[in-house]
Subunit: 294 residues, 2 copies
């Protein structure tokens, strides 16, 4: 990974952080609710999904600012999903990114409402996104709702909870990941492509890139839960094993998992290189995703 | 109340029930999640919000079917809010419409996801609503997100939780109701008006009608919690007092509350009669709302 991509990620993260905080500070809401929503949004994270959207917009030679509000809406949805996933009735996690989870800090009722509020506010933000024409906005709303809804993210979380303690095979595990995290990452890429008005063939290739990248992302997550550094990932390692989660290492062993990671990474890069778009930044992001330590 | 309005409500309820079930049955989702979503949607209720939207569409001489999908999306959002409000961390209710609440039947994790799924799926349905042009769809999405979001419904639920055990005055109580239930009811009316392409002045008057009707609706709810029949309302009477909820009777006494109900009802009717639209059905619905026993 060159220093360039690290600088790129930092610059875009700052841009997104600033826009997110601006959106939330301007939002009308009871103090405690707003504080709780801001808490989880400001707890940060890598902002990989929104950065990916901006990077695709730029790779297709459109303007960064066109993607800023849709990218922020996507991050709001991602943040809501983390708050609800952490709840006692779900994964029951006390720590997220090194900080107390939302319900540990604000209590369960406020955490549920903060999640509901972020999800709903994301659609307010999308419907009011500047620069974007009505048809594209409707497409973004429909695809974000699909990617986050019962057939994808929410359904994947349901599958994941039901699979706890049951041994899945690789195909079933990939299906869950595709729904639970893959579709939102795919929305980042395809949303960027649609905002930048990419042609059909470029979109198809970018979708292939997104799918392999999404799986690579999830596999690296599973590896970090075993080999990661607690301080860097901000939560205890081994929590997947403790929660009887189905993971790649549980099915393939750690070496087999690393081979899968490499395979998906290479397929993602192959797809990228087969397009005529500027691929250096997107390639850098893919490298970052599989080499990250947090 | 004439028999006509009862027949009208039954006919429209059947139409909406059918459309809701069709939408959910066609939706792709894990079996348990879909079952849980369908359970709460089929548990029914009066469907007053979607019926109100259809009635406004018809009163403005537009076509019923134009309003059907938006009205169903509205009911999905209402249903999600009931599932989350009933959760142990929130109002902790065991019964809803005479049946076990969603979390009592399916467990908390599934209930949280069913609520998240219904909210998200509502935006899928709105974005795919037939007959509606892109500009109107975007308006509906924006307004539904606003009415259900942190500045309105979710914020009102937060206010309500924070006010438990504290004595509010009438102005503070009305503000909570306006946010928690009023805005969604207002969306029913204004959504219908926008679908039917009402002019500005008709919209303004209908908004006044919706605001007074919304308050009348909430006041009648408070009265039913004291004077209602458990079998008819489907949950124990007196639960507001037990939960230390702020209510109209707690502030105004039961007679003062009934005077407020009458005042808002009359203002709603005055607004309605000042428009040139066909107001008999809407008037009938208003009568039904304040005279209902459930």
């Amino acid at each position: 990974m060159t220093m360039d991509i690290v600088a790129y990620l930092e610059t875009k993260k700052a841009l997104i952080d600033q826009h997110l905080v601006q959106l939330l500070k301007r939002m009308e809401a009871p103090d405690r609710l707003k504080e709780s929503m801001l808490y989880s949004v400001e707890a940060g994270g890598k902002r990989l999904r929104p950065i990916l959207m901006l990077a695709v917009v730029e790779a297709l030679e459109s303007k960064t600012e066109y993607g800023l509000q849709p990218a922020s809406a996507l991050e709001l949805v991602h943040t809501y999903s983390l708050i609800h996933d952490d709840l006692p009735a779900m994964d029951d996690d006390d720590l997220r990114r090194g900080l107390p989870t939302n319900h540990k800090k604000f209590g369960e009722a406020t955490a549920i409402l903060a999640g509901d509020g972020l999800l709903t506010f994301a659609f307010t933000c999308l419907s009011q996104a500047p620069y974007i024409d009505a048809k594209t906005k409707l497409w973004l709303i429909q695809e974000l709702a699909n990617a986050a809804g019962p057939s994808a993210m929410v359904g994947g979380q349901m599958d994941d909870l039901e699979a706890e303690g049951k041994a899945l095979d690789l195909i079933a595990l990939e299906k869950i990941h595709q729904k639970k995290t893959g579709r939102l990452l795919e929305f980042a890429v395809m949303g960027g492509a649609t905002i930048a008005k990419a042609d059909r063939s470029t979109k198809d290739t970018l979708q292939l890139f997104a799918r392999h990248l999404g799986l690579a992302f999830q596999i690296q997550d599973d590896i970090l839960d075993i080999e990661g550094d607690e301080a860097a990932i901000g939560k205890p390692v081994g929590s997947d094993i403790e929660n009887k989660k189905n993971t790649y290492p549980a099915i393939l062993g750690i070496e087999g998992t690393k081979e899968q990671l490499k395979a998906h990474f290479e397929k993602a890069l192959d797809a990228l290189k087969s397009t005529a778009i500027q691929h250096d930044v997107l390639e850098g992001i893919a490298h970052f995703i599989i080499e990250r330590h947090y």
